[in-house]
């Protein structure tokens, strides 16, 4: 059996990540979830947060938005609306986006708008959290 996973992370704009990895940790809807090779086939949803990828003993961090994950024994496919590696996160920009979103929350919004604002707020929060947590190391 294979002892690596083919990890694919795609967003509507591009294929963000595609590598053979040893392990991946996902921000599942029901809590954090670690996936090793030969995992049982699983479909799940993810919430905005952090994906930790272990490859060749090194850890890589990505901030991701809402999405879906398909896991088979040898493949993990992540469909999400945002995926940014930690070294490409611009903290000031994310912070600005968070403040903009928060300011808009206080306005009168219809369902559609409020869903969009909440999504962008969650995305920018995820970026900020990931960036700050990983800077300390």
């Amino acid at each position: 059996m294979a002892n690596t996973l083919q990890l694919q992370i795609v967003t509507p704009d591009a294929q963000a990540y595609s590598e053979l990895v040893e392990m991946v940790t996902l921000p599942g809807a029901e809590g954090e979830m670690g996936v090793y090779p030969n995992h049982v086939p699983l479909m799940t949803q993810i919430v905005p947060g952090e994906i930790v990828v272990r490859k060749d003993g090194q850890e890589v961090y990505l901030a991701v938005g809402e999405g879906f994950v398909e896991i088979t024994g040898e493949r993990v496919a992540v469909l999400t609306d945002m995926a940014i590696p930690v070294d490409q996160i611009d903290e000031t920009k994310a912070e600005e986006a968070r403040q903009r979103a928060e300011a808009r929350l206080s306005e009168q919004l219809n369902d559609e708008e409020s869903a969009t604002v909440h999504a962008s707020l969650a995305n920018s929060l995820a970026q900020i959290t990931v960036k700050r947590r990983r800077q300390r190391h």
Partner: protein, 292 residues
């Protein structure tokens, strides 16, 4: 017989037209590149989404969801995706020819101003109008798709199709009708030059049943509408790529025609000028002879 001054005036006006069409051609060319790139960039996502869905539909036998359910009724609803502006050759007229073929009872949803105008003029049942920007955003696509799903779920239509211009190549765009609801066979949305149809059924093969977390209803309930939204988004991108390609080609033809016209007019102008000079010379020499 026009005078030389008349011809000069016409040449000037044709030159102005050529300048404008040339500028529009350039703008369309750059927009076309952007639109094509956007359509191509979304393909890995679309492919993967289709794979996942196809795997799910084949894997889970007891699969049922209101959006998948087939109904007996005959009421149809069609989303027509057109452009906002004209000057793009036969793109919209080809599209409208197809739109006019649907049975009289069909309900229509329009995206783009040309479709709204056409449907209003032909007095079709237009239930909603949507607009989308030059760079279509996902939220615009979601609004359209959400409305279509509501229409379907409320039972106002038993089948929803989408009519748009498929981007085949820069020179060829074809109107195409695709079934959106109920979700049937899952087909990848192809876009761009040399797009390959992806085999969607191999995923998950040999892996038995999928587990779902939190549960099947919730995952499918979220995934199905999302995949429809994304499908509409891909279609909007493709329609934009078609529009800009068609406009670029139309404007290139217009520029070429104007240039040819300028050439013809210049030739005529020179002939006339030459004739005038010859006439004057003749007059002078005749006068000189008469004097002598």
């Amino acid at each position: 017989m026009p005078s030389t001054r008349d011809i000069r005036r016409r040449i000037k006006s044709v030159k102005n037209t050529a300048q404008i069409t040339k500028a529009m051609q350039m703008v369309a060319a750059s927009k076309m590149r952007k639109a094509q790139q956007a359509a191509l960039a979304g393909r890995p996502y679309a492919d993967l989404m289709n794979k996942v869905l196809a795997a799910l539909v084949t894997e889970s036998k007891d699969f049922s969801h209101p959006l998948v359910e087939r109904r007996q009724g005959q009421t149809r609803c069609v989303i027509v995706v057109s452009t906002d502006k004209g000057l793009c050759g036969g793109l919209n007229s080809a599209l409208m020819r197809d739109a006019a073929k649907f049975e009289p009872g069909t309900k229509f949803i329009s995206a783009g101003r040309k479709a709204s105008q056409f449907l209003a003029r032909t007095k079709r049942a237009l239930v909603a109008e949507f607009t989308y920007k030059d760079a279509p955003s996902f939220s615009e696509a979601r609004a359209i798709s959400k409305f279509a799903q509501d229409v379907y779920l409320k039972g106002e239509a038993d089948r929803v199709d989408i009519l748009f211009t498929r981007f085949v190549s820069t020179l060829v765009q074809k109107p195409e009708t695709r079934q959106l609801l109920p979700v049937g066979e899952i087909k990848p949305v192809t876009a761009g030059v040399g797009a390959k149809a992806e085999e969607g059924r191999e995923a998950g093969a040999g892996w038995g049943e999928f587990l779902f977390e939190p549960n099947q209803e919730q995952v499918l309930g979220a995934l199905l509408p999302h995949s429809l939204n994304f499908q509409v988004y891909q279609i909007l991108l493709e329609a934009k790529a078609s529009e800009h390609s068609a406009r670029m080609v139309a404007m290139k033809n217009a520029t070429d025609n104007a240039q040819q016209f300028i050439k013809d007019l210049t030739l005529e102008y020179n002939k006339l000028r030459q004739a005038n000079i010859t006439k004057e010379l003749l007059e002078i020499s005749t006068a000189a002879m008469a004097m002598g």
